[in-house]
Amino acid sequence: MEKKVKKSKVAFRLLKYVFTTYKIQFFIVFIAIVISALANVMGIQFIQRLIDEYIVPLMGNQNPDFSSLLQAILSMGVIYIIGVLATYIYNRLMINISQGILNKIRTQMFDHMQTLPIGYFDSHSHGEVMSTYTNDVDALRECLSQSIPQVFSAIVTMITVLISMFTTNIYLTLVVIAMVIVMTFVSRYLGGNSSRYFVKQQEDLGKVNGYIEEMMGGQKVVKVFCYEEESKKRFDELNENLCNSTTSANTYANILMPCILNIGNLGYVLVAVIGGILSINGILSIGNIAAFLQYVKAFTNPLGQVSQQMNFIVMALAGAERIFQLIDEKPEEDEGYVTLVNAKMEDGKIVESKERTGLWAWKHPHHDGRITYARLRGKMTFEDVVFGYTPKKIVLHNISLEAKEGQKISFVGATGAGKTTITNLINRFYDIQSGKIRYDGINIQKIKKADLRRSLGMVLQDTSLFTGTIRDNIRYSRPEASDEEVVAAAKLANADNFIKHLPKGYDTIINGSGEGLSQGQRQLLSIARAALDNAPVLILDEATSSIDTRTEKIVQDGMDKLMKGRTVFVIAHRLSTIRNSDLIMVLDQGRIIERGNHNELMAKKGMYYGLYTGAIEIE
């Protein structure tokens, strides 16, 4: 029951899209469909009138006068032409409406997706979200451009036919209604089974897809272990299940139409027999029966169409539900009002500047309308920060730390100790539960998220590239950067060397997964990107983990240049790269258990010492 309410709510919301944006167009579509359907029904009536009024009177006439017939046919022709025009109009307008709505919905989905917190992407698989953009939107398109006009037109036709039936004969109409009830039951039964198996089919398809995904991803391992036969066996099993559920789903869907049509045929016979009896008793004229029989046919056909469209509509509604779920997802909160601006010094005072000056300032509007500027320095403090991805499971306990301007702060610890989590709190990918994080003394909650993040350069372990040229990818962090700046950044990251060796150098097109580039090369690009960004604070999360030690040494020089004068947070598993940190935090299960510089920590002979000497496993 609840589900039904939900479905109707989804349908209602969908209609709202139509009515709000395309009110007039949709109204025209409505009128056009009615006109088109009426023209069709009038055509049926015309055949009857043709027989009763024009043919039968002329029968047996030696010199029949066809002029009135010609007139009738010509006027019918006019009606038909109007009908055809109406059909074209609603088909044409429905394209505007359906494509327009889809365009709007997709934009809404994507724009909204950009506002969602990182947590959303953690808890939803990419495949799941992708499928909303593709399968669900497709289902919606089918429904909007095909099903809705068809069903609508069918309903108009059926209503007009039904009215004509009633005016012709009530008893026979009752017979037809009884027939419709039977049809409804049958199509409900078949439709129900069909959609049940369609759901099952989707599940089985998901399993097959999942298996294919896993096996194709691990195909090289399969080869190495000669595991081909085994993997085939399991695949066959899943494939067979999918085949079975597809067969069942399609069977029910396929037999629906013949069932409806033939029940219609049975109804036809019934009407003919009863009508025949009635006509013998003089209750009904022959022309009327003939007309009625035409009505029966005119009534069953659209009914068959509607029953076929039902599957599509159900699928579209299910899709729309998922689409709305995405659109309704709670966005990232951003109540920040402190913004980051380019600044310059004038008479020892900081003033806002339009151009990029290399000097940044926090613009701080106050309640009383005053605006103050504070220079961006890169000081970061954590005060008793507590965080958990869910309130119940705390992963960081009472973290306090202070990073002074220009310091290099490193986090070490086992996988799951909370290193990456800390850096994700700095840029507010996640929000803390209690405590405070201050950036140059400003609570980061007060800073506008986009500006906060703009001030932080990030190099992540998983480098994400976007389809486009190498140049565009480096420039991602600062689209307005000149070509020279891009090359300079690439040189700094030691990426220039391998880029130059690519067939088209900086203009080589790479795709999103960076195929053709090694993991190490991708990391170099990602470092170049951060170098170009030139942000005052840097976060390096395993930035050089896939670069071999020799290259790393070369990159390290660039990195040192990059880090100079900036506050840097580093997570690295090769401890040799963080030895020169100003402050090293050793994390264990969400707590800082040791802190100090390399020498201090080595002297302590604690966890860091163990990690450094290799006695404790780092991952």
Binding site: L69, R92, Q219, N265, A290, D548
Partner: protein, 589 residues
């Protein structure tokens, strides 16, 4: 092209043949029914002959029942045939991919293989069902209805002879006109999906650089393109229904005009007039259906091509005839081996150049070199995952090309750099190495790989379920499970391609010691970034840009090889200052 895919109908042949047969029978009934209906009006009702009505009515009911049964059967067989066909196609592709060499896998990306086996197969399945149902139904319906209308009135039937080609031409014209637009739409669609996909995987970068607006703009652009082209394509298709209606209506009016005169002239009856109009609908509807199938087949064409590509791909590496079934020992030799990846257009771009190498059975060999120095490529030639472009790779004194592939790969066990654990229990994953291994054997190899301890700490021990990709164990643990899995094969040659990078140095040393003591006859090749992992090897190979820069023991290389010395010093410098203790730990084990 259709022929190429037709052979995968296989066991569905029966269903695939029965479907059109029942479709034809169903069509016959559908044509007979209006004929009987006409009789009821013309004879029964006209003469108020209830008996006749009931008689013909009984026939009609019988026909309806037959029509129903045939319709259901054809629906059932069509469903069976198309689902079965899709299953066969998927299986054929999956099986084919299993025969692929690394080279073939590289050629198709993983994601493209997945789409080909899922979306493309679904498209072809739909087209197939359409073909066996509608492609048979529509022409038969057209012909039967045409014959029936000829039996009623030749004059009226002639109208159809004009209408059919006209409508047929118009529909094909529309479909042809729309097709290129649809092609563009699909391309734009791919682009749209790509943007979404990249945003999903790169969301952290997008957010970190606060580039949401840029992404929105990017998406809006491609989204608007989709909108624009889709509208263009559909605008053309929007002519379909009006053109169809126009033809039907014209036919009806012509039939009415000519029919009325014929009836008045006494050559026809009124009931026949309505039958012929029904036939008009049936004939023209069939044409409409045909054009729909036409469009459908065109749309599925690119899917078909993509499927065929997978099925026709030649495995780059195949068994020879009369293969050698046993690997004698774990000795390896490279004789003037060069290698270049086949997709490299520039044939001079060799990944490996003139490699000459002798490795004795039981030796431990370390390989070191920078990113892109082709370390992995070198070792992948040994189990013939790739084929040497020039020169010979020999295992046990025999060219690897002469071995049976399974025999060779069972003897040469390799732990890949990008290793994968599969969803399932740890023991299931381990048994990839040997299906029949018993629990003791599992435990033994895990002890060797230093994995037994941590596995036993899991509540479910060896039955712990791993998530896809093994995300619920740490990197170091994953690597050790992978090593154990490789050991279970009892290989003659064991290759570790940077497989202990996440393992701590102490465990790393323990693993190496276990290798030395427990499997002394197995040749061990270790690629590593960490000097300590290979320092004690019998032989160290320094690779640089696909060439051997030096071979020797650590001591020798320190004296003679610049690269090795550099790497050594960069890694050992820190440790020597305050890492004396680490040596103590190493030596204490």
């Amino acid at each position: 092209m259709i022929k190429k895919l037709a052979k995968y109908i296989k066991d569905c042949k029966k269903d695939a043949i029965l479907t059109p047969i029942f479709v034809i029978l169903e069509v016959v009934m559908e044509v007979v029914i209006p004929y009987l209906m006409a009789k009821i009006i013309d004879v029964g009702i006209q003469n108020s002959d209830v008996k006749y009505i009931i008689e013909i009515g009984a026939f009609l009911i019988l026909s309806a029942i037959f029509s129903l049964v045939f319709g259901m059967l054809s629906g059932r067989f069509a469903a069976k045939a198309s689902a079965g066909y899709a299953r066969n196609l998927r299986k054929a592709m999956f099986d084919k991919v299993q025969t692929y060499a690394f080279e073939n896998i590289d050629k198709f990306s993983t994601s493209s293989l997945i789409t080909r086996m899922t979306t493309d197969v679904t498209n072809v399945q739909m087209a197939f069902q359409m073909i066996i149902r509608i492609l048979v139904r529509a022409p038969i319906m057209l012909i039967f209805a045409l014959i029936m209308s000829f039996t009623i009135s030749t004059k009226l039937a002639c109208i159809f002879l004009v209408a059919i080609p006209v409508l047929g031409f118009l529909l094909i014209f529309i479909a042809k006109k729309a097709h290129p637009h649809f092609e563009t739409v699909f391309k734009k669609y791919d682009e749209l999906n790509r943007v979404v996909q990249e945003n999903l995987s790169g969301i952290r970068v997008v957010k970190a650089y606060a580039k949401e607006e840029l992404e929105k703009k990017k998406f809006k652009e491609v989204n608007d393109k989709v909108y624009q082209f889709f509208k263009k394509a559909q605008k053309v298709v929007a002519f379909n229904s009006p053109v169809m209606q126009l033809t039907i209506y014209t036919c009806i009016l012509l039939i009415s005009w000519i029919g009325a005169q014929t009836i008045v002239g006494g050559q026809m009856q009124t009931g026949q007039l309505s039958s012929i109009i029904t036939y008009a609908y049936q004939i023209l509807m069939s044409l409409m259906m045909l054009s729909m199938v036409f469009v459908m087949v065109i749309i599925s064409q690119s899917s078909t091509e993509r499927i065929i590509e997978v099925l026709e791909e030649n495995p780059a590496i195949k068994n020879k005839e009369n293969t050698v079934k046993e690997v004698k020992d774990g000795s390896i030799s490279f004789e003037n081996v060069s290698f270049c990846y086949s997709d490299e257009k520039d044939k001079d771009k060799f990944a490996l150049r003139n490699i000459n190498l002798e490795i004795k059975a039981g030796e431990t060999v370390g390989i070191i070199g920078g990113t892109g120095s082709s370390k992995s490529t070198l070792v992948q030639l040994i189990p013939r995952l790739y084929e040497a472009t020039k020169g010979k790779v020999k295992v046990g004194g025999i060219d690897v090309k002469d071995y049976d592939l399974n025999v060779l790969r069972d003897s040469v066990s390799m732990v890949l750099q990008k290793n994968v654990l599969f969803s399932g229990t740890i023991s299931e994953n381990l048994r990839w190495g040997n299906q029949d291994a018993d629990d003791e054997e599992l435990e033994k190899v895990c002890k060797l790989a230093q994995a037994d301890d941590f596995i036993k700490q899991f509540p479910a021990k060896y039955e712990t379920i791993l998530d896809q990709g093994g995300t619920n164990v740490s990197g170091g643990q994953k690597q050790r499970i992978c090593i154990a899995r490789a050991l279970l094969k009892k290989p003659k040659i064991l290759i570790l391609d940077d497989s202990t990078s996440a393992v701590d140095t102490k465990t790393d040393a323990l693993i190496r010691r276990a290798f030395r003591e427990e499997i002394p006859n197995t040749t061990k090749i270790i690629i590593a970034q960490r000097i300590t992992s290979i320092e004690d090897a019998d032989k160290i190979i320094v690779l640089d840009e696909g060439k051997i820069d030096g071979i020797g023991t650590s001591e020798e290389l320190l004296k003679t090889n610049k690269i090795y010395k550099e790497v050594y010093e960069s890694q050992m410098k820190g440790e020597e200052e305050d890492g004396k203790e680490s040596e103590k730990i190493e030596s204490s084990i």
